[in-house]
């Protein structure tokens, strides 16, 4: 009897406390700015820290509906017959990981649960470290029955960026004579029918820097006419829209794109009901921080226009 009530109360208290704190803080800031006093930058830093930290502690979260560009990738993976092969490239470093690691995990989970085989690789040296993360949390943990070399394979990192891509678009083995554990290419069952990227059913690049999705489109997707999709850090997402939908069929942009994908996946099948949804969890603090940033812009601009008006009068 008591436990659901408790749960609701803790959440409610959390939301209330956070909102009150943020509102009071903004009010104080506005009052102080309008009375013409400098606000030290460090106070603003502290304020933004708490506005993010409180919802992290109290776990405020929201639901998200998938936008068309996210849904397109979901539908593409749904439409692939099982036994298809998808390549997921980890083109990011730990700095981008909070945004894109949830996408990589959700996509891996989606593919493996549909018996789609995955070839993993990375164009960032740090991608290999991040790949290890997905292996320990998703691949080996949730799909213990999947076998290395048959259901998935880890090719690891190669240096060269676009140079790597230019080779694998016509020949995988030339670039990757072995997988990351030194198993020769010819002994990996996944590659029985795969000679180059052109034999893949879909390529997904997860990243946000250079080399990344743009290089994939230029060096692999377009020349080889291979379906491409991407999950990217928010900073670069707007720059990739010109490639949609002809050159990239779907795009997850930033933690919001990841949250949309997680929600789409969770709603699609009860077996995903308990899956971890790190991106959705992050959207709570994200939302409050956005409100703070927007309020800052409003306060700053009101101040600006008031001062300008005064300047004109005097």
């Amino acid at each position: 009897m008591l436990s659901p009530l408790m749960a609701i109360t803790v959440q409610d208290i959390g939301i209330t406390v956070s909102l009150v704190f943020i509102l009071l803080g903004l009010a104080w800031l506005a009052w102080r700015s309008f009375s013409g006093k400098e606000v030290d930058r460090r106070i603003i830093f502290l304020f933004i820290f708490f506005s993010v930290a409180m919802p992290v502690i109290f776990k405020i979260s929201f639901k998200f509906k998938a936008t068309p560009i996210v849904n397109a990738l979901y539908e593409k993976i749904e439409s692939l017959p099982n036994n298809s092969t998808v390549l997921i490239s980890y083109d990011f470093d730990p700095a981008m990981a909070p945004e894109v690691q949830p996408m990589a995990d959700a996509l891996s989970r989606h593919c493996l649960s549909r018996d789609i085989k995955i070839v993993y690789m990375c164009l960032f040296p740090t991608g290999q470290g991040q790949l290890e993360q997905t292996f320990s949390t998703v691949v080996r943990n949730e799909f213990p029955e999947k076998q290395d070399g048959i259901d998935f394979v880890n090719l690891g990192y190669k240096a060269g960026g676009e140079g790597v891509l230019n080779v694998i678009v016509t020949d995988f083995e030339k670039m990757f004579p072995t997988d990351v554990n030194s198993v020769p290419y010819s002994e990996i069952p996944i590659f029985d029918n795969i000679k180059s990227c052109k034999n893949l059913d879909l390529i997904i690049s997860i990243g946000g820097g250079r080399p990344g999705i743009k290089e994939w489109v230029l060096f692999v997707g377009d020349p080889g006419n291979i379906p491409m999709a991407a999950g990217v850090a928010a900073v670069v997402a707007p720059q990739l829209y010109p490639y949609y939908p002809n050159q990239i069929l779907g795009l997850l942009g930033g933690v919001k794109g990841a949250a949309e994908y997680e929600n789409r996946l969770r709603d699609s099948d009860p077996k995903f009901a308990d899956m971890p949804t790190p991106a959705t969890t992050m959207m709570g603090p994200q939302t409050l921080a956005h409100i703070v940033v927007m309020s800052f812009i409003i306060i700053g601009n009101i101040l600006f226009f008031r001062n300008r008006k005064r300047g004109e009068i005097s």
Partner: protein, 268 residues
């Protein structure tokens, strides 16, 4: 001044030492004190970088310098194992391949793989003040490769394909004006909005290019088009701006989650 910094140092050191011991005592696993140390170290480094927000200080400098060293070595190691051991050695020598337990790749042209080694070593000549000019050869190779690769790819993906993707109809599902006006609505998936979107894309791309067109003075109709171009660009940058804010905040959420979850274990 010296004394305060000593006190600060002592406080910080003892706090993190305490954290290590507590984490070690309560964590489960085969080597609790090692795990405890690693998490404490990560937390210390996180806070050391964040201390830059207060002001530039020795802890921040320590963390930053450590980062520079570690990241250079990380890239070197991965490059060595993946490319030198993975791609180069198997094409050069079967004995060395055996040592690293990689399969030797037979091939008629393997001898040519001494070229990248020679160029690689020449590149390292840059470290020597006298033979530094030799590093221009591999540099020329790198520049030549990127230029050759980029030339065709950019032309295809960023020029030709973009033009092709912009050839879109301005009238969609068109059955004459009567039909259009009688079914007109502002639904996000409606005919009017779709047509307007295509119009914006068409006008936006053309005017945007006009803004970046430098061979004609921006006056008259050309000037007006370029004005429209700059507006479209501003909306574009606004969208970028919004997304960047979103991205940066996510990274902070990631770090704060680490501090509260993995280190302090306030949340699960």
């Amino acid at each position: 001044m010296k004394k305060t910094s000593m006190v600060v140092f002592a406080t910080i050191a003892s706090l993190f030492l305490l954290s290590w011991i507590v984490k070690g005592m309560f964590s489960e696993g085969s080597s609790p004190y090692l795990d405890g140390f690693l998490v404490t170290l990560a937390a210390f480094l996180t806070l050391a970088i964040m201390s830059f927000l207060y002001k530039d200080n020795p802890y921040y400098k320590f963390a930053e310098h450590l980062f520079v060293g570690v990241s250079a070595a990380y890239a070197m190691c991965l490059g060595f194992w993946s490319t030198i051991v993975g791609n180069l050695i198997p094409r050069l020598s079967s004995t060395v391949s055996d040592f690293f337990q990689v399969n030797y790749i037979e091939g008629d042209y393997n001898i040519f793989f001494v070229i990248p080694i020679i160029f690689g070593i020449l590149l390292l000549m840059r470290l020597s003040p006298k033979a530094g000019w030799l590093s221009r050869w591999p540099l020329a190779f790198i520049v030549g490769t990127t230029a050759g690769l980029n030339f065709v790819r950019y032309l295809r993906s960023d020029f030709i394909n973009q033009i092709n993707s912009t050839i879109i109809p301005l009238l969609i599902d068109w059955n004459g004006f009567g039909d259009f006006f009688s079914n007109m609505n502002f639904s996000a998936t409606g005919q009017l909005v779709m047509m307007f979107s295509n119009l914006v894309i068409f006008v936006g791309v053309v005017c945007g290019i006009i803004y970046f067109y430098f061979s004609k003075e921006h006056t008259g109709w050309f000037g007006r088009a370029s004005k429209v171009g700059i507006w479209i660009l501003m909306i574009t940058f606004g969208a970028s701006f919004g997304y960047t804010v979103m991205g940066r905040i996510s990274l902070l959420v990631g770090r704060i989650t680490f501090l509260f979850k993995d280190w302090l274990e306030i949340i699960s």
